[in-house]
């Protein structure tokens, strides 16, 4: 796992967002174990207390769950997973819309461009494995 942190945003928020993205993209599957607080802190080179805070937040939002003393796992709750997905899509769309609106492009034109782009990227899928 690798995150490029923004220095001005709470690190725990960025960790939570990263997990949501991974879940939405199916990189983390429902029921999959997540690293311990220390493992993740080591991997991301951040303060373990921050990871702790992020996990607490995710637990509260129902993204992960912990049974007895076992490692925490990604939730299997379909509803939560759906919300995460929607949230992520909404975020992306919001951002996109804001950017595009500032350039004042008509909606029709944008929709056409999006369709073309979508088909094109689907066609190129084979090559595009990195991000």
């Amino acid at each position: 796992m690798k995150i490029n942190f923004n220095r001005r945003e709470p690190v725990y928020v960025q960790v939570v967002r990263h997990f949501k993205q991974q879940i939405a993209m199916n990189m983390l599957e429902p029921g999959q174990e997540i690293p311990s607080r220390r493992e993740l802190a080591g991997e991301l080179k951040i303060n373990p207390n921050t990871v702790q805070r992020a996990y607490k937040e995710m637990e509260e939002q129902g993204l992960i769950y912990t049974e007895r003393n076992l490692p925490s796992k990604i939730t299997r709750n379909e509803q939560v997973l759906q919300v995460v997905r929607e949230e992520l899509i909404m975020d992306a769309v919001d951002q996109f819309v804001t950017t595009v609106q500032s350039v004042q492009v008509p909606l029709d034109e944008i929709v056409t461009i999006i369709k073309e782009k979508y088909e094109q990227t689907n066609a190129d899928k084979g090559e595009e494995d990195h991000d």
Binding site: F5, P10, V11, R38, N49, R53
Partner: protein, 229 residues
């Protein structure tokens, strides 16, 4: 908790510390930041009773420092504190002889973690390896508090990375750490709390995550405001 209460210190006519107050809690990494010569090292020395303070008081878990306290708090200065002619093994033995809290198992673990050769003489170690051996001797003690003076300065990138890894590992777990630095860059995400020092006083004392959350500022932003604003 380490409580530093309104301490003052003079070197000759120069007043280095003009009433410094802050706390460092167990389980947290507190970072003293300030430009060189601002008195960071002096504060650490004062906590360890390695230099007298003029006024003020320093308490460790509510008590003044006693000889026994050195089994519960350790200081890793910016230069190694064992004799150059000792081998790493000999310096470990020296520590083991005097400290009841020396943890041999952890010492061995640190040896392999840092990839140090125990038969090497301290004097023959590279800068980076000297810093690691220095860290080893401090971290292998089962102490509640660890003070580190500029653990990242003047060493190569890979050694820095290895040392940074220590902070996220169980080697630091649940201990209270105070580290000093004059450049926050590398360790911004490793620390819990910042104590900004300038001109002999604490300019600001804050939790990094709180400042990011409440004000949307990075540690460097806060420093810029405080030092230049």
């Amino acid at each position: 908790m380490i409580e530093v209460n309104n301490i003052t210190k003079k070197f000759g006519r120069k007043q280095v510390l003009k009433g410094v107050t802050f706390t460092a809690e167990k389980g947290e990494i507190t970072c003293l930041i300030g430009i060189n010569g601002v008195g960071k090292t002096t504060i650490l020395n004062a906590i360890m009773a390695l230099t007298p303070i003029k006024k003020g008081e320093i308490l460790i878990d509510g008590e003044k420092l006693k000889p026994k306290t050195f089994n519960h708090i350790t200081f890793i200065p910016d230069a190694i504190t064992v004799l150059p002619q000792m081998t790493i093994t000999e310096s470990m033995q020296f520590m083991k002889d005097y400290y009841t809290t020396w943890n041999e198992e952890r010492a061995q673990e640190l040896l392999s973690f840092f990839k140090l050769n125990p038969e090497d003489k301290i004097a023959s170690l590279s800068k980076g390896n000297t810093a690691k051996a220095n860290l080893l001797l401090g971290l292998a003690l089962d102490v509640d508090y660890i003070l580190m003076d500029e653990p990242f300065s003047g060493i190569d990138m890979f050694s820095r990375e290895q040392i940074a890894n220590v902070f996220t590992s169980h080697l630091i777990e649940d201990r209270g750490v105070i580290i000093t630095t004059h450049e926050i860059g590398d360790i911004e995400h490793l620390i819990d709390k910042v104590v900004l020092l300038d001109d002999g006083v604490v300019k600001k004392h804050f939790y990094t995550e709180e400042v990011r959350e409440a004000e949307g500022k990075s540690v460097i932003d806060v420093m810029r405001e405080e030092y230049q604003g």
